[in-house]
Structures are given as C-alpha cells and as structure tokens.
C-alpha cells in the first residue's frame, strides 16, 4: 500500500542521507521524495511516497524515522484529507501542425506551455499524480523527449472532515 509520509526535520547536512539510508537498510521502497524549507528557519520538510506491505511495516517505518535525532515530527497523511501536488515538466515533440492540437489537449489540465522550439514544446503541469499520469498518456503519441517530475509534496487540509470513511479523500487509495 502506498503511503504519504511527511517529516519535519532539522536542516542539517546528512539528514536526507540518514532518512533514505534507513529506508534502504530496512527495505522500504521509496516512490518519490520532495524536500524543501519551511516557514521556520533551520527546519525543512520532506514528503515521501512509500510503498509498504502492511500496517506493521508501516508502524516500524514511522517509529524508525521518529528515532532519528534530527527528525522532529513524522506524520502519515495517507488517511487524512490532504492537499497534495506534484509538478511535472514534459518536453514533447511538436511542429507547427500539431501545436494547436497539443494546446487543446493540455488546456483542460490547466497545464501551460513554458518553452517552445522548432520541433518541441515544454509543458508545465501541476496536480495530483494521477492527473499528471493522464496528461502524459495523452501526450505520449506525439513523442515525449523528456520528463522531469518533482515527486509529491503534501500537507493536511486546514479542516479535517468528521467522517469515518476517508478513503475518497485520500489520493493513494
């Protein structure tokens, strides 16, 4: 099962190495990582999408992460209502003939063209991972030259709905 796990960490050299090293040692498969600073000086936030077998493994993962001295807080967002986004840059083969066609494909995705050359277009898209997947699939027939994705970044929504079943709020189920 895929889980979104965020870490609040002290921004010291080697922290990312420590965290990814522990996941490697304990055989957790990382699907994506994104790291960036937070509003507080010296504090960074990491967002991981991790594939874990079961709840016991998951518990072990969060406990091991919590054990790290520089890790201040570990949150498993998977069962919460979250705001989660990924950014992707997609360079797609295009010439004057198909440019308009591509433009019409990307519009419903609220993606934009950020670079253009004689034979290619670079498109920026943000959103949930499945939205990005969908766009990539639509663009694939034109010929994709390059893709750069940031990995998911996420936090909990300001208000958590008071419902027992949160599945449809979750991105990953």
């Amino acid at each position: 099962m895929k889980r979104i796990i965020t870490l609040v960490v002290q921004n010291r050299s080697g922290v990312l190495n420590r965290v990814t090293g522990l996941m490697q040692k304990r055989q957790f498969n990382i699907e994506s990582i994104s790291v960036g600073r937070t509003e507080q000086e010296g504090i960074s936030k990491m967002t991981f999408v991790v594939d874990v077998e079961d709840h016991r493994k998951l518990e072990q993962l969060t406990k091991q992460l919590n054990k790290q001295i520089d890790v201040i807080k570990v949150t498993d967002l998977s069962d919460k209502a979250v705001v989660a986004r990924e950014l992707a840059l997609i360079k797609v083969v295009s010439n004057a003939q198909v440019r308009g066609e591509i433009q019409s494909i990307i519009e419903p995705f609220r993606a934009i063209v950020i670079d253009m050359s004689r034979d290619s277009l670079s498109i920026q898209v943000t959103g949930k991972p499945e939205k990005i997947e969908a766009l990539i699939e639509l663009l694939r027939p034109y010929g994709i030259k390059d893709i750069a994705r940031t990995g998911l970044t996420a936090f909990a929504r300001g208000q958590q709905p008071q419902v027992a079943e949160l599945t449809h709020y979750s991105l990953l189920k």
């Binding site: 960490v9 080697g14 190495n17 016991r56 001295i69 890790v71 201040i72």
Partner: protein
Amino acid sequence: MKMETKVKTQPVTAPKTGADILVEALVEQGVDTIFGYPGGAVLPIYDALYRSDADFQHILTRHEQGAIHAAEGYARVKRKPGVVLATSGPGATNLVTGIADAMMDSLPLVVLTGQVATTVTGTDAFQEADVMGITTPITKHNYQVQSSYDIPKIIKEAFHIASTGRPGPVVVDIPKDISANPCLEVDESDFHLPGYQPTIKPNPIQIKKLAEAIKQAKKPLVLTGAGVLHGGASKVLKDIVESFRLPVTSTLLGLGAFPGDHPLFLGMGGMHGTYTSNMAITECDLLINVGARFDDRLTMNLAHFAPNATVAHIDIDPAEIGKNVPTDIPIVSDSKAALEELARQLKDGPEHEEWLSELQKNKEAFPLWYNNPKEDMVTQWLMERVHHHTKGDAIVTTDVGQHQMWSAQYYSFSKPDKWVTSGGLGTMGFGFPAAIGAQLALPDETVISIVGDGGFQMTLQEMSVLQERNLPVKIVISNNGALGMVRQWQEEFYEERYSESLLSVQPDFVKLAEAYSIRGHKITTQEDFERIFPEVLAYDGPVLLDCRVLMQENVYPMVAPGRGIQDMVGVKP
C-alpha cells in the same frame, strides 16, 4: 513548536585552537580515559592533549579496532560513554566494526575522528574517507564539525545522545583545519534537541494492564535483556520476581541481570539456550520482556515463538516494540522506571506453583550436560572451574563462537555488569581489547578474557597495552585449533566439509606472551589448570593461559537455524 535557543557567546581570552576547545569540552564531560591512535588529521588534537594538564589518560592501542573494542568494554562495565580518538581515512574506517558492534549492543560511545582540512574535503585528499556517509547507518547520530565555534555544543550533544535513552555510538568528525586553527569565540549555550526526547517514565495505564495480566497468568515468564542492565533495574526486578515467584529466562546479553544461581532462573533461552527455558517460552501464557529486542538468535523461527503467550514488552526504544514479535502490552520506558511502577501497582500475587514445579522438573530432568574426559580438557569444564575459582565475581569478556556460548552456559553470572560479550554483531576480536577497557574502567576488579584461538589472533597485538600499563587481565585461550563454531556448523550442516576452519598452524601463544613481557602458561590437563589457575588469579599482573581443549566438542543443546525454539537437538536427560 518553538525553536529558540539562547546563544551565549564568550570571547576566548588566550589564543586557543579548536583542539584545545575540544579537550576542554571532554574534561567538562568528566572523561577520564581516551582510547586512540594518532595520525595526520588528529595531530592538532594530540598536541592539545600533550599540552593539556587535564586529568585524564590516553590509551594507545596498537590498532584502532583495539581502541574501539576497549572503549566498548569500558562503556559496558562503567555504564558511561567510552571515548575513542582516531585519525581520518584508515583510522576512521578501522573503527567501523566497533561502531557497528556498539550500535547493535546499545553501548554508549563518543567516537572522535579526524578529517582532512575543509579546504580539500571532497577532493579525495590523502587519507580522506567519507566518515559521515560510512557511519550514518551504524551510529545513533553523527556530526561533522563545521566550525570550532560549535565544538562545545556538539560535544555536549554527543555525550547526551550517546548515554541517554537507548545508548549508542555517536561519531564526531573534525576537519584538521578546524582543530588546528585559533578559535576566536565559542558557543557556550545549552543544546536543544527538539527531535530527541526519550520516554523515560512508563504510561501507568499500560503498567496496570501488565499488572492485571500477571494476576491472570497461569504460566508467566520473565525475559531479561541487556535493557535491565543498562537501566540498572536488576534489584527491582529481583524484588518483583521473588515476591510473585515468576520464573526468569534471559538473552545472551541479559545474563547477570538476574542471578544465574537463583532457583527461579531457568538459564539462557534461544539457539543454545536450556531446554527448560525454551520449553517455558513455548508454553508460557504471559511473556514479560524487559529490555530485550527479540533477536533471532533468541526467538529462532518466529512462527513457533511463544505461540500461546500474551506478550508484554518493556523497552526504552519504541521502535523495538512490535518490530519482530507482535506485542499485546507495549510499554515504552526505562526498565527501572517501568519495574518500579509495576512494583507499586502489583499488590497481591498470583499462584502458579504447578507451573513452577513443572519447570523445576524440566530443570532437573534436562540439565546442561557435557562429556568430561578426565585426561583432556573441554571449555565447559574450564568455565565451571573459572567460576569456581573466581567465585563468580570476575568480569568475563569473550569473543564470539563456541567459547562464548560455553561461557554463557557454564559461568553462572550471578551479578550484573560482569559479562561483556559481542551479541548482536558477533564480532571476533572483541573480547580481548574489551577486557582491557573493562580493566581500565574498574582497576580493582578481576577481569578474565575468554577467547578462542581464532578471535584472539585478530587483536592480540593489544598485549602491548597490558605490558605498558601492567593491567592484570587474565587471558584464557580456549585453544582447539579450529574456528570452533564454524567447524561445528560444517560438521552438522555441510557434511563435515571443514572448509578453511581448521587452524592447523598456530603460533606459540606462550612465547608470544613472553615477547610482550607477559607471563604465559600452556595448559594441557585439568590438573595443570587446577594447579596454576589459583596462582594466576593471585598474581597482580597480566597472564596468558593457552588451554588446549578438544577440537571435536560441540555446543549443545542447539536449535538449528530455521527451526522453532522447541525443536532442540543435544538435549540429554
């Protein structure tokens, strides 16, 4: 979440170097012994040690591995961080085995390594190694000093992290220019570690659950791990166990946490545990694990481990609870705090005399046994005699293998903190330097290093330290001319194909000892041993005994790898 730290900056009056600041910081931490080996990148630190009039000793071992195992032995018996100093590159990499060993067995160490100057870091400079990268997976925490300004704070943090919560090794990597250059000001402020708040006190509700479970249990069993020793909980454990008449088994590292000669003690459990212990684990309906991490050498095949038991687990490290064995009553706490709270809450005791008498019957019917040929020596007999002559008061250190298991089985550890062995990592070469560290930590104790002829040859150069410091460590080599445990496994699981496990050519250990100005005796019969050993114990100096024991002797009972704990071979009525 507040992240404020008060910064108290102090101007340094005399021109001090980063190395001077480091030495002062170590003094402030109450360091009395440093184990180390000099080299280029730590020359400023060694110079500062030379110039310092601080009241601590530096022990020059002959290999960095000797230094770190000695520091582990020191840390184990003194229950405070062992301090190690080594140079960059090869100095640091020679420490890796010991760091990993300390991590597995939760021993507090502060390991100071030199690093090439910041001006050349990352250029594959002479004697450069990525110490942070190498030690990250095998340390509780590590630091690379970026400025001498940070040294006092980092040292304070390092000692705090190493010695609190679940103890472990902390590496501090110090670039040469930082230790060499004058230091203009230092950060004297207190540290603040928002991500490190070990839980010391137990949740009383969980303790209540445990107390209830004990009242309900018909077949309770206590399992002692090294956590009992680290938490200094032996006394309160004994009080509870005696008041409520609970049977006790132990892990390898937990030996001595509860008296080995006590009627309620069943012996060690696990791969080479007693029949009584393993059957008790299999049949118990409540297993109270105090400070053990359910290592696979104890549990063996998890499918058969304590199948009928409600499992309570007291551990200071939350990540250990539920890691290997599903836990019904998790208690995150220091072992002593948890047991004290349990003693408060548990008033009336349950009756389970039937269970105790069943265990007692097993103890009598299936004791540990060995062949005792009078004309030859076996290590089991040796360990019984060592126990007899030392009255169980000696600190015993071992390497890894057959002699280690026989020490665990036959040197009945009756007091805490007398047993120093490499459990988790199973490190050959550990036992002898660890004895040096233990003897330096507690000069008045009798320290006996039981080693195999294989492991001893990995670190025997440390006999120089015995010679130099006249440390009265007694080395007892259980010399069977083989890598005994490897040989045993080859016999049992590889159809007697003894691939590279027989040490047919051996040095003359007695002459080697003499080369280091140490008394040495070759002992070939039981009679020799009985005659010489009391005299050796009385002698106030180092002695090496080369005890020739039978090669073909195997460690029993045994649970084969992959089997359930109840599936034992070598059990004899």
